[in-house]
């Protein structure tokens, strides 16, 4: 009993110290943010970005990312400030920024965190790009306790205002491969659940999904039976109405179906699995790759098929990539922003829109992934022991961890989606308990949208 009491006290103490730590760190950042808000007060639509961030304290790179994120989210709430998040990564005590878009900015911010014997300070320099000179220098100082340092250095990105949380969970039939949604003519969201042999359509109704209809896909030989079903669904609103593409790892072709006369009709077969609709040089393309027959990975080519006319399949061109367990494109304003890939050794790779590799993770980390527009990337862990979902901020072409969550079970797929007007990610999770297998569908989103 004594031991239990001690543990409880210890827990209470740790909780108290952590909460205090967060408060002090926030004060340092909010003071800096407050100064910037006052500085830009009389300016309208001012475009600002942090372009340099250096660390001369004992805080880790992880802690620095948290501070950075906190400052950005503070400034994002200001109507007259348009803050661009250019941070790609924070490593070895300094931030790595995407400086390709600096010409669009009005002010550049330089931050430096330093530490003396008792206090930690943040130096802030504002550079006006139009005036081509430093217009302000400010230094803020706070005493950061040991507990506060430890808290910031902990590998946890759970700042409440940034966090993704599980907004929905329900059980599904086994072997669900993908979920996509589109707004119907009545404004209600239609959800398409892609199973190996059929597609089931649900309609959102309050906090539930109501089954609307379903149709069989009727695959024909050659069929390559897989141990693990994988597939991608894509929904497109074209001039000729709603078009759907469905490809997978067991059929040698993907189906293109159009909704005519109140039913889905096959209008075309294509030789790869489409998973994105992109506009490149003002030409719409279906982009995709081919799975290894019956296997769980994509082969090493990315296909681009012009798609102005759904029935036309000419003009396909291909680009060489690495074989991938998962891949996706992040798209901003309809334009290709970056290309994300998990290779067959479970390492993540980030490629530019020009297919040039930006960086890769040295450790095994990843199995499935999906990009949400050009803002967020979700990646699942590779290990079966304890799966995790990692959320990365990918705005401006970077890839920065912001949040992670332990998952019970194994994530089978991740798809970007919408639930109750909140953008986020669908995950298909296989769970096993007492020898019984269940397939759970979860939706992860930010409550603030």
């Amino acid at each position: 009993m004594k031991k239990v009491t001690c543990s409880l006290l210890l827990l209470l103490f740790l909780y108290g110290s952590s909460a205090l730590g967060q408060e002090s760190a926030e004060t340092l950042v909010t003071e800096s943010a407050a100064f910037l808000k006052i500085f830009f007060k009389n300016r309208f639509d001012v475009q600002v970005a942090i372009v340099r961030f250096e660390n001369d304290s004992e805080l880790t790179d992880t802690a620095m990312q948290k501070l950075y994120q906190l400052l950005i989210s503070n400034l994002e709430n200001e109507k007259n400030i348009r803050i661009s998040d250019l941070l790609i990564n924070f490593a070895n005590g300094r931030g790595e920024f995407n400086l390709g878009r600096v010409d669009d900015l009005h002010y550049l911010l330089d931050l430096k965190l330093i530490q003396n014997k008792s206090k930690t300070g943040l130096g802030l320099t504002i550079f006006s790009r139009l005036q081509d000179k430093i217009v302000s220098i400010k230094y803020f100082e706070k005493a950061l306790s040991k507990g506060e340092m430890d808290f910031l250095n902990a590998k946890n990105f759970a700042f409440s205002e940034l966090g993704f949380s599980k907004l929905l969970e329900f059980e599904s039939k086994r072997n669900l491969m993908d979920i996509q949604s589109i707004s119907g003519s009545d404004g209600r969201e239609q959800y398409f659940f892609y199973y190996p042999d059929e597609i089931v359509i649900y309609l959102a109704s309050n906090m539930r999904l109501e089954k609307d209809s379903q149709f069989k896909l009727g695959w024909t030989r050659p069929v390559y039976p897989p141990l693990h079903y994988e597939g991608k669904l894509l929904l497109l609103q074209t001039n000729q109405g709603l078009v759907l593409t469905a490809g997978n790892n067991f059929s040698s072709y993907a189906k293109v179906l159009a909704f005519h006369d109140s039913q889905w009709q096959e209008i075309q077969k294509i030789d790869f699995v489409p998973f994105k609709y992109l506009i490149l040089n003002q030409i719409p393309y279906l982009v995709g790759a081919s799975y290894g027959e019956g296997r769980n990975y994509f082969k090493d080519k990315i296909y681009f098929m012009p798609f102005s006319d759904p029935a036309n399949r000419s003009g396909i061109y291909e680009k060489k990539a690495a074989p991938a367990m998962a891949l996706d494109f992040s798209v901003q304003d309809g334009q290709l922003q970056a290309f994300h890939l998990i290779d067959r050794n479970y390492n993540y790779h980030l490629f530019s829109a020009e297919f040039e590799e930006q960086f890769s993770t040295p450790e095994k980390k990843g199995a499935s992934l999906a990009a949400l527009g050009g803002e967020w990337l979700a990646i699942s862990d590779y290990s079966r022991a304890s799966d995790q979902l990692f959320f990365y901020n990918i705005q401006n072409g970077g890839q920065r961890p912001t949040y992670s969550e332990k998952i019970t079970g194994e994530i089978q797929f991740i798809s970007a989606g919408v639930w109750q007007n909140i953008k986020g990610f669908w995950t298909g999770v296989r769970q096993e308990r007492d020898g019984q297998e269940r397939f759970m569908v979860q939706f992860w989103g930010k409550r603030d949208g």
Binding site: W219, T220, R221, P222, V223, Y224, P225, P226, L227, H228, G292, E293, G294, R295, N296, Y297, M325, R344, Y346, A367, S368, S380, D381, Y382, S383, R384, A385, D387, E410, I411, Q412
Partner: protein
């Protein structure tokens, strides 16, 4: 299996495996060289080899669970006494040719016409086999809820019309005689493509194998040992009724001496099944070397040996040469044997049979009598088998043992089979393959085996 091994498997499953398992890689199995790709499950080595290229209708796991990769549904209708097997959609053989319900029907009929005990048991039960689109309906003569277990026989496999089509998880790609055989993953495998790309079957020790068969309790260091429960019995059979007893015993003596001369690789067998379970012990007195030599010296003896024992070929030839005996050894495939049976060509035949320890003694003795008496099977034996069936239902262990003893004595006294040797096998699997399971028949199940999961 000791406790540490039991712990190792679930730990490996939970700690090492990736959510997306790695596809690729090769595994090496050391087995005896097959004579052809025609199904022949006479010995343990063959049982494993042919399980890689032919798909069974049903598999029987060690825990008694029955499963199928070919059928999406199987249902037994008691009132109609019919088992309905619904084949999965869009299945193909390894060359892409459709695998249909018709193939299932033909394969089942081929099996039922074979000279196997399991086949005759099934034949006695089945009235008719009909095909309706993707469904095979097996109509029974009488209600038999146990029908599914009769379909788990390892010899009941899905056969194609074309010899170069295979239904199993792998198909033969390259065969370098006397050296190795490469099997490639079958992209159309009904159970789902294997993680492995290839399996290399070696016939010698040139490549260190990942899986091999050997005597129990060896190779503790780097291998997991599976007590497969499989043992192999070797019998000397006499296929003509007018053969002299002296010659039979002389040949029996020579083979016993061969085993001694080659380091007693096989255990002496004094019963028809196994010494532990048999109610009778058979003692056949061997002859002196001089008497053996004098009997066999002037006769031209042709000893036919089943191809499944081809691993004895080299040593036996050397032994007979040193003994200065005029005994010619001829290795013969199962399929050839059936063609020769009605001629007088074969007098002496060395055969092997494999058994699973768990199988009841009465089933083993029935199998020996049915499968090893060849052309000497007669009405008396048939009556004895029927009596054995009756006794089985009497629930009297004493009567059962008595009947087994009667059959054993009859077979040996009639001089049609002499038991020679027995060998127990363990299956050894290198520890880098932790997820491997073996089925009831001691065959490794390679479908979900993946190496690079760390």
């Amino acid at each position: 299996m000791d406790k540490s091994k039991l712990l190792f498997i679930p730990l490996a499953l939970t700690l090492i495996f990736a959510i997306k398992p790695y596809y690729g890689g090769e595994l090496t199995i050391r087995l005896n060289e097959p004579t052809s790709f025609t199904l022949n499950t006479a010995n343990y080595s063959n049982l494993i080899f042919y399980s890689l290229i032919y798909e069974n209708f049903f598999y029987l796991k060690k825990n008694g669970e029955i499963f199928s990769n070919v059928f999406q549904e199987y249902r037994y209708d008691v009132s109609g006494k019919t088992l309905s097997l619904t084949i999965k959609d869009n299945l193909s053989f390894s060359n892409g040719k459709p695998l249909t319900a018709r193939n299932i029907q033909v394969s089942l009929k081929i099996f039922m016409n074979s000279d196997l005990f399991a086949a005759s048991k099934l034949s006695k039960t089945v009235k008719n086999i009909r095909v309706n689109e993707n469904q095979v309906r097996i109509e029974l003569l009488a209600d038999n809820p146990d029908i599914l277990s009769l379909l788990t026989a390892p010899e009941l496999v899905v056969l194609a019309e074309n010899e170069q089509s295979f239904s199993g998880m792998f198909f033969p790609q390259v065969w370098e005689k006397n050296h190795h055989l490469i099997l490639n993953a079958n992209p159309f495998y009904a159970g789902g493509r294997t993680y492995l790309d290839k399996v290399k079957i070696t016939f010698n020790d040139s490549t260190p194998p990942d899986i091999f068969l050997a005597n129990p309790n060896q190779f503790k260091e780097n291998f997991q040992e599976f007590d497969s429960g499989i043992f192999q019995n070797i019998y000397l059979c006499f296929l003509q009724s007018d053969m002299g007893q002296n010659t039979k015993i002389a040949l029996f003596t020579i083979l016993k001496r061969f085993n001694e001369a080659t380091g007693n690789k096989y255990k002496e067998l004094r019963t028809l099944t196994s010494d532990e379970e048999s109610p009778v012990s058979i003692k056949i007195k061997t002859m002196s070397p001089q008497k053996t030599a004098s009997i066999l010296k002037h006769s031209e003896t042709k000893l036919y040996i089943l191809a499944s024992l081809s691993n004895l070929e080299k040593d036996l030839a050397a032994f007979l040469k040193n003994s200065n005996l005029n005994i010619e050894t001829l290795f013969i495939d199962d399929s050839q044997l059936m063609a020769f049976l009605n001629s007088a060509a074969i007098q002496y035949l060395l055969i092997d049979k494999i058994f699973q320890k768990k199988v009841p003694a009465e089933e083993k003795i029935s199998r020996i009598l049915k499968e090893s008496s060849f052309n000497q099977f007669n009405a008396r034996y048939l009556r004895m088998l029927s009596e054995l069936d009756e006794v089985k239902f009497s629930n009297s262990q004493e009567l059962l043992m008595e009947q087994i003893a009667r059959i054993s004595e009859a077979i040996v006294n009639d001089g049609i089979i002499f038991p020679l040797f027995q060998k127990n096998y363990s299956l050894y699997i290198r520890k880098v393959w932790p997820a491997m399971e073996i089925d009831y028949y001691g065959r490794p199940l390679l479908q979900k085996v993946s190496k690079n999961n760390d």
